[in-house]
């Protein structure tokens, strides 16, 4: 199995139905860290896909966090 390709495609394809990124981004992050040392393809033995997957997943997680914080802070302000 090519875990690097899987980790990279997961957060990108989930952008088509963006709410899925809430699950796909952490899943890709976990997959990248767990499968980091697993064997890669024989013909392209480098880990740039894992690095890209981690960066994209972290970006999506940050955006979700910012969005949730913004929504919650807005509600708190309304409650006051």
């Amino acid at each position: 199995m090519l875990y690097d390709s899987m980790a990279l495609i997961l957060p990108l394809v989930s952008l088509l139905v963006y709410p899925l990124t809430l699950i796909a981004a952490p899943a890709s992050l976990v997959l990248s860290t767990v499968a980091w040392s697993r064997p890669l393809s024989l013909v392209r033995p480098n880990r740039w896909r894992f690095v890209a997957a981690i960066l994209i997943s972290l970006t999506e997680i940050c955006l979700w966090t910012l969005g949730i914080v913004y929504l919650l802070s807005g509600r708190f302000r309304e409650a006051r």
Partner: protein, 320 residues
């Protein structure tokens, strides 16, 4: 072990294939997105590499990207008056070029060893095959030595590839099993299917600016014939009557029909404000995106129909 890439790369949406060179072998890689299959062919074991010209109607991801770029330009510059003519000419030129290359400049390539006979899917254009052979032949010569001058006469009696095993005779009898009939490249069902594709394309082209209720009903009838033909093709392919090419064409046509159906429903929803379940064809025809949708539908149907004609014309001994 480090590998160097050899010429040729078949890039599909889910499937890709490539060839890589190591010091003593070739590595054939078949990639199914998340999985790779490897096959090694040692240079010392290769008996023959056979390249046969035959049509290969492959739509690569590169072709898909060109199509997407064309569509993006069409959407972005749709209001400029010169754009439709220019883009139509570009689309026709691109489709004709693809058709010519697929029909006249394509090939299949097989590699033979004493125990195996494998297709090399990444070698499917004749210029790639030439580059591949030019790169590989000196290496094989280096390992296996140079052939004598009269190699053609000597090789006449020497079989290449895996030898067929003699089937064991049944006890007390000598009846040979009947060979399964070879799959055909066309049947009446596939002919009707291809005709419906071409008919649909012609109807769309001729009625681009004069969409009436009558034309609409003919279009529905052709779509029904197309779907029925596709179902018949699936059944015939499953029974081993038809070859794989026409079955793939039927899948592509059904995907196109499905996608266009949903796009049409969306357009109808926008044009009519979700007032009725069935789209009013007159209102839909007046909607700006509708004309472009019919043009795209006609163009793709025409391409699929031409591919169907080409598949039907391929000699049956040439296709797998």
């Amino acid at each position: 072990m480090s590998y160097r890439k050899l010429p040729g790369h078949r890039r599909g949406l889910l499937y890709s294939a490539s060839l890589w060179l190591a010091p003593d072998h070739i590595l054939a890689v078949k990639s199914l997105r998340f999985r790779e299959e490897y096959q090694r062919f040692y240079l010392r074991d290769i008996q023959a590499i056979v390249v046969a010209t035959r049509p290969r109607f492959h739509l690569s991801t590169r072709a898909g990207a060109i199509g997407a770029l064309w569509l993006a330009v069409l959407i972005a510059l749709n209001r400029a008056p010169w754009v439709p003519a220019l883009l139509s000419a570009a689309a026709i030129a691109l489709v004709l070029a693809w058709f010519y290359v697929s029909y006249a400049r394509s090939c299949s390539c097989r590699i033979y060893t004493a125990v195996s006979r494998a297709e090399l899917p990444s070698i499917y254009r004749t210029w790639t095959a030439r580059r591949f052979l030019a790169e590989l032949e000196p290496l094989i010569r280096q390992v296996q030595g140079v052939l004598p001058a009269d190699w053609a006469e000597r090789i006449e009696d020497r079989p290449i590839g895996p030898q067929p095993k003699a089937a064991p005779l049944p006890a007390g009898g000598s009846i040979a099993p009947a060979a399964a009939p070879a799959a055909r490249s066309r049947t009446p069902a596939s002919d009707i299917f291809v005709a419906s594709l071409l008919g649909g394309a012609a109807l769309q082209f001729f009625a681009l600016h004069s969409m009436t209720r009558f034309v609409e009903w003919i279009w529905y009838a052709l779509a029904f014939i197309e779907i029925a033909g596709a179902v018949a093709i699936f059944v015939q392919y499953h029974r081993g009557i038809l070859r794989v090419g026409i079955e793939r064409l039927a899948i592509a046509a059904l995907i196109l029909t499905g996608v266009l159906y949903y796009v049409r429903q969306i357009l109808a929803g926008v044009a009519m404000g979700n007032r009725t379940a069935l789209p009013d064809f007159a209102m839909l025809a007046a909607f700006p995106g509708s004309l472009m949708l019919r043009q795209v539908n006609a163009g793709i149907s025409l391409v699929l129909g031409l591919v169907g004609v080409a598949l039907a014309l391929i000699p049956e001994s040439d296709t797998p």
